[in-house]
């Protein structure tokens, strides 16, 4: 017989081995290739940005308003982590990867905690069976597609899950402790959970429900006290808004959050109008099949436990499944159905599935045992349940290899490409949310538009397209946008991204004559962009140098005269501005004319003139083309252009052109729309006009329209100070109370003898 001390040591070693194996497995599935998969998303980018802002200067924001949607604790944790690594002001991409390491590491702990809870809930299992069940729970959690999806991202979920599970663990562990111990400990954990993410509140009700299910009203009062004690700590969050003087903003945001949770307001998730939950489930089936199976098994476990008289561990499991599935059912049927909410439901589903599977095998084994037979039903049941478990694990691991072992970093790669190929001022129009690109590409203006024409009207010609964004209704982009861009533009690059089902970078051409593109209003005129990156252009203004904006508009604006090629300048009493189609001059009386540069161009650089496809300046000068003649005779075009300098001539490119002193009128062969052919660049290159330096230099484009409100105070320091004080109170007060209680016990009885 083995030495009992040796056996105890072996038991301890085996348990540590299971913990180590669980940590290694979860660490591998969560951290492997974390720099390149999954592709980043809006929440991850802006949350990490907010954490960096906190690390740099205590500002909890990524806009110019404080972050009130979620509590500050997870951001503070991420900020501390980034500060520790010296990445507080690192490029955002690096900070995101570092933050992912923190959250993935935290997820490892969450999975181990889940194993611990499973061990708590299997008190009759015995050592080997208990370790086996814990191992299965950990393996299922470590490979679960939903937990992997969100455990590998720098989001709030991993941090919220770990504190929620810790709270549950403590509640189970201290289930028999008196209020003086239970309330401060579980209350503190509950408070920290609520300060990480409020939606976990349903999990915090598990101990209350456990007591209610057992009709232990006194216990229910104690655990409710623990919850309320935690709620008290959460009040530091609204207190922060009071300290910032933004209470009404906080109330508005929280009111909207509650409305969203209740489903009264649907702005995100699969219950939005026009988004089909079933279609979304179908679309995601390939990725989340294993999670769906586990959720279904957890549901079966819940129904099974509802038909049983539950006590002890089974009552805890029932309470946990009830709170989790009640939240899940409400969310699916009525509330805001965000995919990441399943992170909070799956732990109960996994533990419930495993323990219900174990109970099913036990039930079959406890059935009738015909003499001489080896429990065929039980064995068959065990084989079936093992087969389901293996299938779920196999599907999960297959999905892991497919999604996380290969690169899935389209957004990061696209950002690198934009940085390397375009100037830092290059502007992008994107499908989906623009902020993730904007923060990854500091300096680059990024905006979301519903239509390609809308984007181009503001001078944006570089488009990032994701069909998934459009189909799922993320961002403003419509189907018309992607169709239009692909019909007109050039595909510059494609980027592998399983998350976005591929990303594409497109460029649409610049048309200097398009009146509905590249024009931004300015006081006294407009700014016209002159490149596809929206890096610069020239203003056309009414001002001291002359009313060029008025003259330009009167002559037909961009559609006729084209885009400006310089700003205006004044020399010898005359003001000039070069446009694509003419060099416009304004005399001291404001009379507009086109500088008669066409004959000079033909004379000084005949080869260049011909190469530009411009018509002859000799021969008959009659107005033989009716459309050109009509356009020329229209006021003020004839006064502007001067006399004809040559005949109307069909050119090899299919256009008909006629030269005048100040410009060349042209029309397409099949159109009566007449405009001034491009001669501005030739005139500049030939030195026929020399804008002064200020007029020749392009100016930066005006900022894109923004919906940012006025700046608000965003410092999170008041919250941190109050949190430290709160923590001191929450840990110190119970100690004082316990000591007082002890003193009370020791106090001699001073009552008078009766």
């Amino acid at each position: 017989m083995a030495d009992p001390a040796y056996r105890r040591r072996r038991v301890v070693h085996t348990e540590w081995l299971v913990i180590l194996a669980g940590a290694l497995l979860t660490g591998a599935t969560m951290l492997w290739n974390i720099t390149a998969s999954p592709d980043t998303q809006y929440d991850e980018v802006v949350y990490t940005r907010a954490a960096q802002q906190v690390a740099q200067g205590w500002h909890l924001t990524w806009t110019n308003s404080p972050m009130f949607v979620h509590p500050p604790l997870s951001f503070l944790a991420q900020a501390a982590w980034l500060r520790l690594l010296g990445l507080g002001s690192a490029p955002l991409g690096d900070a995101i990867v570092a933050a992912r390491v923190l959250t993935a590491g935290v997820t490892v702990f969450a999975v181990l905690l889940l194993g611990l809870i499973a061990a708590y809930l299997a008190p009759v299992a015995g050592r080997r069976r208990g370790l086996l069940l814990v191992g299965i729970v950990v393996a299922l959690a470590a490979t679960d597609p939903v937990l992997l999806r969100y455990g590998r991202l720098a989001l709030i979920e991993p941090l919220a899950l770990v504190v929620a599970l810790l709270t549950l663990c403590l509640a189970i562990w201290l289930r028999r402790e008196r209020a003086l111990i239970y309330v401060p400990v579980v209350g503190l954990a509950s408070g920290l959970t609520l300060l990480t993410k409020e939606v976990t509140v349903f999990l915090l009700f598990t101990p209350v429900l456990h007591a209610v299910l057992g009709r232990e009203w006194r216990r229910a009062a104690i655990v409710l006290g623990g919850f309320l004690w935690g709620l008290g700590l959460w009040l530091l969050f609204p207190l922060w808004s009071v300290a910032l003087g933004l209470t009404s903003d906080f109330v508005d945001i929280k009111f909207a959050t509650v409305q969203r949770l209740l489903g009264l307001l649907q702005i995100t998730g699969w219950n939005r109008p026009g988004v089909s939950f079933l279609a979304a489930i179908g679309d995601q089936f390939g990725q989340y099949a294993a999670s769906y199976v586990v959720l279904a098994c957890g549901g079966i476990a819940l129904v099974w436990l509802l038909t049983r008289a539950v006590t002890g561990a089974s009552r805890w499991l029932l309470a946990w499944l009830l709170t989790s599935y009640a939240f899940g059912a409400y969310t699916v049927l009525l509330g805001t159905l965000n995919e990441q909410f399943f992170v909070y439901i799956l732990p109960a589903a996994i533990v419930g599935s495993v323990l219900a599977g174990d109970a099913a095998i036990a039930r079959l084994a406890a059935g009738r045992r015909p003499a001489g037979r080896r429990f065929p039903k039980a064995l068959a049941g065990a084989v079936a349940i093992t087969a389901v478990t293996v299938a779920v694990l196999g599907s999960s691991l297959g999905g892991w290899v497919r999604l996380y072992a290969s690169d899935n970093d389209g957004v990061f790669t696209l950002a690198d490409t934009v940085r390397s190929r375009f100037p830092s001022c290059a502007a992008l129009a994107v499908t989906g949310d623009p902020d993730k690109y904007a923060y990854l590409l500091p300096g680059h203006p990024v905006a979301a538009f519903a239509t390609g024409q809308g984007a181009q009207s503001h001078g944006l010609h570089l488009f990032v397209l994701s069909d998934k964004d459009v189909a799922a209704g993320y961002g403003n982009a419509t189907k018309e946008l992607t169709t239009w861009v692909r019909a007109r533009g050039t595909l510059l690059a494609t980027f592998t991204s399983a998350t976005y089902q591929g990303l594409q970078l497109w460029e649409t051409p610049l048309d200097p004559y398009d009146p509905l593109a590249d024009v931004e209003p300015l006081p006294g005129g407009v700014f016209v962009g002159t490149d596809t990156a929206r890096c610069g252009g020239f203003p056309v203004l009414d001002g001291p140098g002359g009313d060029f904006a008025t003259a330009w508009r009167a002559l037909g604006g961009k559609a006729v005269l084209g885009a400006p090629m310089s700003a205006s300048w004044t020399a010898a009493g005359t003001s000039y501005q070069v446009f694509t189609g003419a060099v416009l001059t304004l005399d001291a009386n404001g009379r507009a004319a086109a500088l008669p540069v066409v004959p000079d161009l033909a004379r000084t650089d005949p080869a260049g003139y011909r190469a530009a496809g411009l018509p002859p300046v000799s021969g008959a000068r009659a107005l033989t083309d009716p459309a050109i003649a009509a356009a020329y005779r229209q006021e003020p075009m004839n006064a502007l252009l001067g006399d004809p300098a040559g005949p109307a001539t069909p050119m090899p490119d299919g256009r008909v052109r006629q030269a005048f002193a100040g410009g060349v009128l042209e029309r397409a062969a099949d159109s009566d729309r007449v405009r001034l052919a491009p001669i501005g660049r030739l005139a500049l290159d030939a030195g026929l006009v020399r804008p002064d330096r200020e007029a020749a230099d392009r100016v930066a484009a005006p900022p894109l329209p923004s919906d940012l409100g006025p700046p608000q105070p965003t410092t999170v320091q008041p919250f941190v100070i109050s949190l430290l004080a709160g923590l001191a109170l929450y840990t110190g007060l119970p100690v004082v109370l316990i000591e007082l209680a002890r003193l009370g016990y020791r106090r001699p009885d001073r009552r008078w003898p009766s």
């Binding site: 561990a313 084994a365 809308g454 419509t478």
Partner: protein, 217 residues
């Protein structure tokens, strides 16, 4: 090797079955809650249908006559919403349309009409006729609504809308009574005079939108 017997007690501990009545009661409660939730979802109690009289979420939004709405200037996203949720098929800009709007409205498959009316002025009779013809033309193409706006929703679009109501046969006092105090205060003397003139001329013009829109009431 000896067979290791499978455990016959759940790891959770013994879980005895409940009595039939309690099981039925719990199943009934669970089913009842699920059915209730599905009924709430199916009936749309949480998201009541705004109905045909719903107005777009834009500043100073108002219904002018059936098939014609007015408000302040929409953004590009608003234009998508107007098209997809309010069945807007035509947009009338009272004043200067932005370049973006000129580009976006046709891109979204809607028609655009610009009426050059200065701030503080009223549309001319010809412009009202143009507006009227546009509304009729859009609505003749199929079911849909025309959306009319100026920069703020409280400028000349109020006068243009009032004129449309006069053309539709409503008396001037009723039209003015339909305006808010702020809108009334915002009317210039020239605009009020234009409305009086339009009211006098209205019976002669009252055959256009009024006929087409009354039919849809």
């Amino acid at each position: 090797m000896r067979d290791a017997p499978l455990p016959d007690t759940p790891a959770l501990g013994a879980v005895a079955p409940l009595g039939r009545r309690r099981v039925l009661a719990r199943a009934g409660l669970l089913l009842g809650l699920l059915v209730l939730a599905m009924l709430v979802r199916a009936t749309g109690v949480l998201h009541p249908d705004p109905g045909p009289d719903a107005l777009p979420p834009l500043p100073a939004a108002a219904k002018v006559v059936p098939g014609l709405l007015r408000a302040g200037a929409p953004t590009e996203t608003d234009l998508v919403l107007l098209r997809d949720t309010f069945a807007v098929r035509g947009v009338v800009v009272i004043g200067a349309a932005s370049v973006e709007e000129q580009a976006v409205v046709p891109a979204l498959g809607m028609r655009l009409l610009q009426l050059d009316v200065a701030e503080g002025a009223a549309p001319t009779a010809a412009q009202v006729q143009q507006l009227d013809a546009f509304v009729r033309s859009v609505r003749a193409e199929g079911p849909g609504v025309v959306f009319m706006h100026d920069a703020s929703g409280t400028g000349p679009v109020v006068v243009a809308a009032a004129m449309e109501q006069l053309v539709a046969g409503r008396p001037l006092p009723e039209v003015l009574a339909g305006l808010s105090a702020a809108e009334l205060d915002g009317l210039s003397a020239a605009q009020l005079q234009a409305l009086r003139d339009a009211a006098r001329a209205a019976p002669a013009a009252g055959s256009s939108v009024s006929n087409s829109t009354e039919a849809t009431r």
